[in-house]
């Protein structure tokens, strides 16, 4: 367990093709299931409407961070920011990064979503259950991970 999500996927397509799918707002919308209002511009809010079945009422909002051609595309967003009645602007967003690397057979895509630990600690956990001790190994893993990062 970690405060970030990491994915790597080998794509059998050239770098330029993957870059276009990631950063052309119409192509992005096609696989991300969102209808965007316009192109991605660094520093600007990207808005649109989710088209994923069952979530059509949801607005898409993200702030584009970096567009480094064929290398890095990133944006920040609020992973839970889908209730129109709630103002999410005061909450810390998570950062989504798509990194590309050329490989012998195509393109390696590395995705990370990070910052799940940055939202202010306003809520206290309420429910308590009996300890089953099963977390010992998991905690050792986390500890080893944190130690590696320092």
């Amino acid at each position: 367990m970690n405060e970030r999500i990491e994915k790597r996927i080998e794509l059998k397509a050239p770098l330029w093709r993957v870059w276009r799918a990631l950063t052309d707002y119409r192509e992005f919308g096609e696989w991300f299931h969102v209808e965007l209002e316009g192109p991605f511009v660094p520093g600007q809010l990207s808005q649109g409407r989710i088209t994923h079945p069952g979530y059509e009422h949801v607005r898409w909002q993200a702030v584009v961070q970096k567009l480094e051609p064929e290398r890095l595309f990133s944006f920040t967003w609020h992973p839970y920011g889908i209730d129109p009645k709630i103002d999410y602007s005061k909450e810390a967003p998570t950062l989504v990064e798509f990194r590309l690397e050329k490989t012998a057979t195509g393109t390696l895509l590395l995705l990370t979503e990070s910052g799940f630990d940055k939202v202010p600690a306003e809520r206290r956990a309420e429910a308590f259950r009996m300890n089953d001790g099963g977390w010992t190994q998991q905690m050792k893993n986390i500890e080893a991970h944190v130690a590696r990062r320092q």
Partner: protein, 115 residues
């Protein structure tokens, strides 16, 4: 793509963030590792073997307590701290959902660029 909404969703996410933040410290992580063995321990027991003062350990335990990762139980004159796996289980479940959503999204991307 969506992460499930509502007030409850937001509250949950804040709670997850508190748990992550509480774990983002070596001393607290090591306290949780000790307590996750299952046996409740007193502050004195938790301070023994560490180079930190009782006050410092207590402060760290309070942070863990406010995130719900440990809770204190009174035992005679002293407090004992007990590990609670639920917030960590919920956190893992939440990240599992986020992770599964990314898998779906990325597989659609793959289909698009490889066709």
């Amino acid at each position: 793509m969506s992460r499930g909404g509502s007030d409850r969703g937001v509250a949950k996410r804040r709670q997850h963030a508190a748990v992550f933040a509480a774990l983002g410290d070596e001393t607290r992580l090591s306290l949780v590792t000790t307590l996750s063995g299952g046996e409740p321990r007193s502050i004195a027991q938790l301070t023994g073997g560490s180079r930190m003062t009782r006050q410092a350990i207590t402060k760290h335990l309070r942070v863990l307590e406010s995130a719900g990762i440990v809770h204190s139980v009174r035992s005679g004159r002293e407090s004992r701290f007990e590990f609670d796996p639920q917030p960590l289980n919920e956190l893992q479940e939440y990240l599992g959902r986020v992770s599964a959503q990314w898998d779906q999204v990325l597989s659609r991307l793959q289909t698009l660029v490889e066709r």
